[in-house]
Each structure stands twice: as structure tokens, then as C-alpha cells.
């Protein structure tokens, strides 16, 4: 058997195995029926991955300060789901692939075999920090992209503006200011 045939066979086997693993690993994510029905672009498992990423990227500097809304409170993942609908299909595809990478592959970088969503906060932070400071430019770029999306979802909400003392837009400003 030629070297090329061996490589082709190996590649096919990896593809089949990888696909099977990917299918199996998209199960076991708890998302309410109502939430599932509201999704525009993301699959339920992708929503959960994004919720976890957003929770860490937009983590508060004071966990005891209840006035700081969390990424869950302002529904960063839901915003990104809707935002994705307006993206070019190729950009959307790349983003969804990135979510899969973070969930299933990136934890290996910190020697964890669990999914990203099963890691404790500190380990999730280590994974994200690994991406942010990666030697590979594309990885750093991918992190910057998802960070930008998360912060768009987070800092769009007037509740987060108080954190930085931002008074918000002048047009359509509610009486008494943005709350």
C-alpha cells in the first residue's frame, strides 16, 4: 500500500471518528424549550458554550457587587445569536466552528479532556488566556473576535453603563436617564 493511500485511509478514519465524537458531544446541554425555540442561528449546545465564554470574558471585578449585571443577566449569548443572523454566511460559519473548537479542543491546551463548559471558572479563564496570548496569530485573532462580540452583547445594555459612569446616547434617552 502506498504512503499516500495510508495517509488517505488514516485521514478518513479520523474524519469519521471526529464526526462521531462531535455528534455525541453536542448532546447533554440543558436549554429550556422556550429558549430553544427562540434561537435564530445557534444550536442549543452552541448557546451554552457561548454563555460560558461570555460569563468569563465579562466576569465582574467584584463578585459581591450585585449591581453589576452578569453576562447571563444581559443575555449576551442571545444577542450574539441574533447578531449572527445578520452576518455573512462565511463569517457565521467561522464563528460557529470557533465555538466548537473552544468547547471540544481548546481545553486540551491546559491538559484537560473535559469540555470547556464542564471546566471550573479558573480553568475556563486559563483556556481563554491561552487563546489570547497564543503564539499563533490566528488564535489570538479568533479570541479578539469573540471578545469583541461578547463585549458588544454586554456593553450594549444600559445596566452595564453604570459600571463605567457612561450616560448613554442622547437621542431617545428616557426621562431620568438610561436605567
Amino acid at each position: 500500500m502506498s504512503r499516500r493511500a495510508v495517509l488517505a485511509g488514516l485521514g478518513s478514519a479520523l474524519l469519521v471518528t471526529g464526526s462521531a465524537v462531535a455528534i455525541l458531544r453536542t448532546r447533554g446541554y440543558e436549554v429550556s424549550e422556550e429558549r430553544r425555540a427562540s434561537l435564530v442561528v445557534l444550536a442549543p449546545w452552541q448557546l451554552v458554550v457561548l454563555e460560558h465564554i461570555a460569563a468569563r470574558i465579562a466576569a465582574p471585578d467584584d463578585a459581591t457587587d450585585k449591581s453589576i449585571p452578569s453576562a447571563y443577566d444581559v443575555d449576551v449569548a442571545g444577542f450574539v445569536d441574533r447578531y449572527c443572523a445578520g452576518m455573512h454566511a462565511l463569517l457565521r460559519r467561522d464563528l460557529l466552528r470557533l465555538l466548537g473548537f473552544i468547547e471540544h479542543m481548546a481545553p486540551l491546551a491546559i491538559k484537560k479532556t473535559a469540555r470547556f463548559t464542564h471546566l471550573v471558572d479558573a480553568d475556563q479563564d486559563r483556556v481563554l488566556a491561552w487563546m489570547e496570548s497564543n503564539d499563533q496569530g490566528l488564535m489570538r485573532g479568533a479570541f479578539a473576535s469573540i471578545k469583541a462580540l461578547v463585549f458588544m452583547g454586554y456593553y450594549r445594555d444600559p445596566r452595564t453603563w453604570k459600571v463605567m459612569g457612561y450616560a448613554g446616547p442622547f437621542v431617545k434617552r428616557p426621562v431620568g436617564g438610561w436605567q
Partner: protein, 512 residues
Amino acid sequence: MSGRGVIVRGRDLQADVKLEVDAVVVGTGAGGSIAARELARAGLSVVALEEGGHHTAADFTQREDEMLPMLFADGGGRTTKDLAIRVLQGRGVGGSTVHNTNLCKRTPDAILELWRQRYNVSGCAPADMRAAFEQIEKDLSVSEIPAALRNPNNDALRRGAVALGWKSGPLKHNRVGCQTSGFCELGCAYDAKQNALKVVVPQAIEAGATVYADVEVVRVNHARGRVTGVSAIARSDSGSPRAWVDVRSKIVVLAASAIGSAVLAKKSGITDPHDQIGKKLRIHPGAVVAGRFDRVMNSQYGIPQSYECTEHLDFEEGSDKRVWIVPAFAHPIGTASTLPGFGASHMKAMRAYGQLAVLTAMVHDETEGRVEVGEGERPLITYEMTEADRRQLAKGLIACARLLFAGGAVEVTIPAIPPVTLTSASELDSLSTDFVRPHGVPLTAVHPMGTMRMGDDPKTSVVSSTGEHHFVQGLFVADGSLFPTSLGGPPQISIYSFAHHLAPHAIARAKS
């Protein structure tokens, strides 16, 4: 075409459209709007096609999450192939003039002379261009920004430059009735910008041009060395195809930016025997430095850019002074994306938002990027900064830090990975600038130029000094693609003015 034109929204089209006109203009930004206006004023029948929507002051909500998708290509997410540089470009009637910060500088004489001497550009020397600059400045009500309207961020730059004895000065703008809200980059809700959307497109329509919004040109049609028109798709609100728009014309003016025009030319198979289209892309790559002050600055309010530092900028090729410094404060989402890190440390940094002043160092670049047709016929932008340009950027960031300290900052952060935080200017003397590498600092580019360069030598340029393609009669270019080199400053006046200066050639061709 006689009488007044109209704006047609492609999303409202009910059936395919076939048109036959003298000239079709692709894009309605600075260059396209002027081209459409001048062609229509010459009595020609003109259609201008714009990929983005038609939005007016009432649509501009001052919210980043709503305006980025509305006003920017790819929702503000366009990047170079390696994701290292964010490339911000306008999309919609008025193009980038809708979201820009209204800076008005003429093309420097030194640059025009360089193009004449080194790049075989004729008829565009300083004396040749003067009338166009004057006309455009009059059209757009250009004036110097009064010192009274200088916000704290700009005043910090002024104080720093004065303290250091560096060359600096006030900028000019094209605003009338400015409310100093500070939301310029999200479209002007008060209609104070005297831009393509407010001034020039209405003039083009008044002269008889018809503008189609939501219509993406997918091919420039040509045969036997002449253009024959364009094929385009009108899209619905969600972006799905709604109708075909076919325009037959003997003149096609490309004004879809140095990215859009080059991609369109390439995918249309425009003759390119010397492989010039899409090459030598310049973008003014820039990065920011943030200074924290011990008092409230509220840099988000007021005119965002009213003062510049040109101490490290001249226009000689190969110069060691190729950095232009201006303020670059952003609203929360832009700031959050730029500040280094994430999580608790990031939020802590965001709490200082009201105390920050931010400067950007933009490189008058010599790197030669390129634009190609990528997957799905999307623009594929390749730009790998040369070592010389990287050194310029490093020098610019250090200069920004010095200016901020001299202007009164108590702490300065360069948002590199890892972040560089300094508490005194003396720390800059020994600072390593290794962080200036791809993805090492967040880079943004807002001025694409040079992919369909003008010049009289077909081996080194795409269009002649009249703006007409060397090999395809009737195909003209009227945007930043024309420029043989970087400008080293804001390009809008140059683009408006070159479109105005070259329009008579397109008119003459149409009437020939």
C-alpha cells in the same frame, strides 16, 4: 435624463430592473457621490448603485450595537486574512462619510509631487488640484474647528504637544450646527455632517441622477475593450436576493473603495496584463494608547478629533517620520474591545472609562498589501506589515505615551498582549517594543487606498491619470483606489477632490 432623480430602495423592488443610461456609478461615498453629481450636471443620464441601505439622521440612534451592523461593511467585523487588522469601511448611501469623524485635509503638496515625479501621474500637481480642493471645501463648508469646541481628550493632546515642543495644530472639519454629542462615528443624529449623504448625493439627485440603495454590483460587463454596463442584485432587509438590476451604459465609474472596487474589477475579469489590480494596498494601520487622568475627562463627549500632532510625520518616501497622531476615543463597546485582557481585570479598567484620554498612532504606510477575491467572492485582504512600518508604529505608540504623560496622564496603557502599563514617561526610555507584532496590539485601519492606482505607465498602474482604465475604455475609478501611495492623513477631501478633478474626463468619454 431630465429633471430630478430619486432614491430607490432595492429592498422595495418587486421585479427585475433593466436600465439603459449614459453612466453608472458603483458606490455613493465621497468619490461616487461626486462622480454621479458631476456626470448628471453635465446632462448625462446617471444611475448610482449602493450596496448598503439609505439611512438618514433619524435612523442614527447613537448605539454601537445598532449602528455597527447598519453603517459598516461586515457589521464592523471586516479584518485582514490573518485577523490581525480590523478594517472599518462604510456601507450605505454616503459610504464612509456617514461614520467618519469629518477630518478635512488636502492631499499634501509633497505627496502630489511624489506622484508626479515617481509614479507618472500627470495633471494632478498641486497647482492642477487647487481648484478641485477649493470647490470641495466650499461644497462641504469646511472650516477650522474652534478651540472652544476642543474636548478634554483633544486638549490633553494639545497640552502634551506644547509641553514637549512638538509640531501640532488644530484640524479642519465639515460640520455645521454640531451639537458636540461625540457620536460622530455612529452617524450624525443631528444632520450636522456636511457629507456625501447630506450634501452631495442630494445634489446629484437634484441634477437628475437616480440612486439605488441595497443594490450590490456583482459584475462589470465589458466586451472588446469597452465597458457595457453592470449586473447587480437588489437585496432585501435580511440580505437575501430580491431582484436583478441590469444597467447598460458606456461609462462605469468604480467608487466602491480600494477594497470593493478592486474585488469587483477582479471578479469581473477586467483586463490586467501586468497583474496590477488589487496590489499595493495601503491602509494607514493604527493602534491606540490610553492615558488615565486623576480627574474626570468624559472624552466621549465633544468633537472626537479636533487636534493633531505631526511631529513624527513627513511625506518623503522611506522617511523615518511616518506617524500621524490624533485622539481616538471610543464608546463603551469599542473601548471594551480594545482594552487588554478580559474578566475582572478588564472590568476594573473599564471603571476608569470617564478618566481616560486615548490617542492613536496611524502609520503613513509603505507596506504593500493586496486585495483578492476570496471564498464566496468576498474580499480577501492580505497585509503583512514590513519591519520598517512596524518600527514606525512602535515609535508612534511611544510618542502617544509621551504626549499623554506630558498632557497630564498619571498612568498610560498600551493595550498589548500582555498589556504595557506605565506610570512615568521615564519608563519609556527603556521600553522594549517587541509587542508590536501581528496580533500583539489591536490594529485598526480605516483608510484603504491604492489598489487601482493612477499613472501614465500601464505596467505600474491600473488607470491613467484621467482615471480611465488603461485597457478597458469607459471604465473609470473615482475612489481611494486611485492613490499610488498612502496619504499620511484623512483621505476624504482627497477622494472627493480627485473624483471632482477627474470627472471631466468621464464626461468627455461619455459624450465622445
